[in-house]
Amino acid sequence: MAKAPSSSTFQLDFEQTILEIERQVSVLEERPDCETFREELETLRVTRDALIAKTYANLTPWQTVRVARHPGRPQTLDYVDMLCRDFCQLHGDRTFGDDPAIITAFTRIGPFKVLLIGHQKGRTTAERINCHFGCAHPEGYRKALLKMRLAEKFNLPIVTFIDTPGAYPGIGSEQRGQAEAIAVNLREMSRLRVPIVCIVIGEGGSGGALGIGVGDRVAMLEHSWYSVISPEGCAAILWKEANERTNSLAAQALALTAKHNLKNGLIDAVIREPHGGAHRDPKAASEAMQSWIVEQLGELTRIDRDTLVRLRYERFSRIGATGTSTST
């Protein structure tokens, strides 16, 4: 299973000073006479922590997108290692194939037996290519629905981890009905008679994200993004070209951060990440996720099923910003 590698080979430009201090700390720590540098080390650590706190408290939306895509950021299978017990993966859509970009499994989280569904991006180059970088094909969405029906049949709550730049745009995916697969998931998830909780753990790219994102409770990790289109896609169309400047403007305009989505009432909660992002302390991130999941499922499993489905329907029906013209 994929393990979060050290992020030492990958640098975010706005983290350069932090990484430089982190490097100095590790150099000093490795010296046999490091005891003699205790004070210097302590100063460096304090400086580093302050800098991390300051940087991450003031990330721009575009910087947030880049943290969400950090190659060291934990992915679905990393969280599985940390917060799931007795993981029992279920493969295949029974029709076309098994899409590795969406993982489905029976597993245990806290006191609950659940069906887990999550996008998987892959870590190594080979894995990433195999998973299409977390861009699922129709068979991935159909596999997810098939297993969700199984969960409904056996009365298991559903937990989904969203982490995709978007559904895969290709010849095969169109031929096999990408749009239909997502559409059907939206319709069916809205009426499944078991609790559904969703967490955007990294990238929440549009319909590809929503295709496993229609839940009773939806949360985002603090440094993830969720929007109708990626900043680059938006920049390419509305600004006519995607570059560092327009991507940044698009990210800002799209209101794609967890904070913005919460403020706009599109999600229910923001799950705090450890200082410096989930990639610095995956365990802390997974603990925060686990306690949110367990809390939500504790509430949702007590709601009778008709009410549960009605509340989910109303949750999505409410969303929208419209006015009334007086001139008509």
Binding site: I171, S173, E174, L186, R187, G207, V228, I229, I237, L238
Partner: protein, 278 residues
């Protein structure tokens, strides 16, 4: 949708629906056509049979029995919840589109008779910001679906859209869930939903209500897909097969029930209503 069919939305400025004026040119075969004659021919080119893009209002006129359309929620207008600004503020784009079309947003919804059968009819309007689905389209559609559910009337939606409306970001994304959830309830109640796909139907509209018809009809040679051709080409770095993402392609791959010529749409729809006993 993530990097997809925005090229159609993008093309709105250059490729509008049939323009006003005495004469007009067919976009497919370049034939010069007398507008009045074209209108009687339902804006289908008499020479090459190209089905031109028409406004939502025009579509209503074509679909409904004369003077039977009773609009719903006409006064619902878009807002600018994110105060979105790209090269131009969204607010200005809305005002310009409203001026250009005389409409509040990109869909007409209402009750109508089609060949004497009472229906709820919704027609999207590509002339308004590429028919993109923002909160107004989502809300008007959801309301129409609810009305069809209450009255047990067949629902006919003619899709024509470049996808979700980027300027409403998450709000527009959630309209996909909202309309699909409303259709789930309509389905639970045994309602009949006939989805008609016209050129173009792409992105978040295809990936929600448009693909959820009990029966899905498509006009000939329409562009229908999830991702836009340009995005796909960029991703896979190869040319797309001939006829990719056309109605005919979808029929062959199993995602459309019937391809229907515009002149037969009314009779095909009423026939289906009769088969469903609605």
């Amino acid at each position: 949708m993530a990097k997809q069919s925005w090229d159609t939305a993008d093309a709105v400025a250059t490729k509008r629906a049939v323009p006003d004026g005495l004469w007009t040119q067919c976009q497919a075969c370049s034939e010069t056509l007398f507008r009045k004659a074209l209108e009687t021919n339902l804006f289908v080119c008499p020479r090459c049979d190209y089905h031109m893009r028409i406004s939502g209002r025009q579509r209503v006129l074509q679909m409904a029995d004369p003077d039977t359309f009773e609009p719903m929620n006409e006064a619902v207008t878009p807002q600018d919840p994110l105060e979105f600004v790209d090269l131009k503020p969204y607010r200005e784009r809305i005002i310009a589109a409203q001026k250009l079309t005389g409409e509040n947003d990109a869909i007409q919804t209402g009750a109508a008779f089609i060949k004497g059968r009472r229906t709820i009819l919704c027609c999207m309007d590509f002339t308004f910001l590429a028919g993109s689905m923002g909160s107004v389209v989502g809300e008007k559609l959801a309301a129409a679906i609810r009305r069809a559910t209450e009255l047990d009337l067949p629902l006919v939606v003619v899709a024509c859209s470049g996808g979700a409306r980027m300027q409403e970001s998450g709000f527009s994304l959630m309209q996909m869930a909202k309309t699909s959830a409303a259709l789930a309830r309509f389905d639970d109640a045994g309602g009949l939903f006939i989805s008609v796909l016209s050129d173009p139907t792409t992105g978040g509209v295809t990936a929600s209500f448009a693909m959820l018809g009990d029966v899905i009809l498509a006009e000939p040679r329409a562009l229908i897909g999830f991702a836009g051709p340009r995005v796909i080409k960029q991703t896979i770095r190869q040319d797309l097969p001939e006829g990719f993402q056309t109605s005919e392609f979808l029929l062959k791959s199993g995602f459309v029930d019937r391809i229907v010529h515009r002149s037969n749409l009314r009779s095909e729809v009423s026939r289906l209503i009769d088969y469903a006993g609605k």
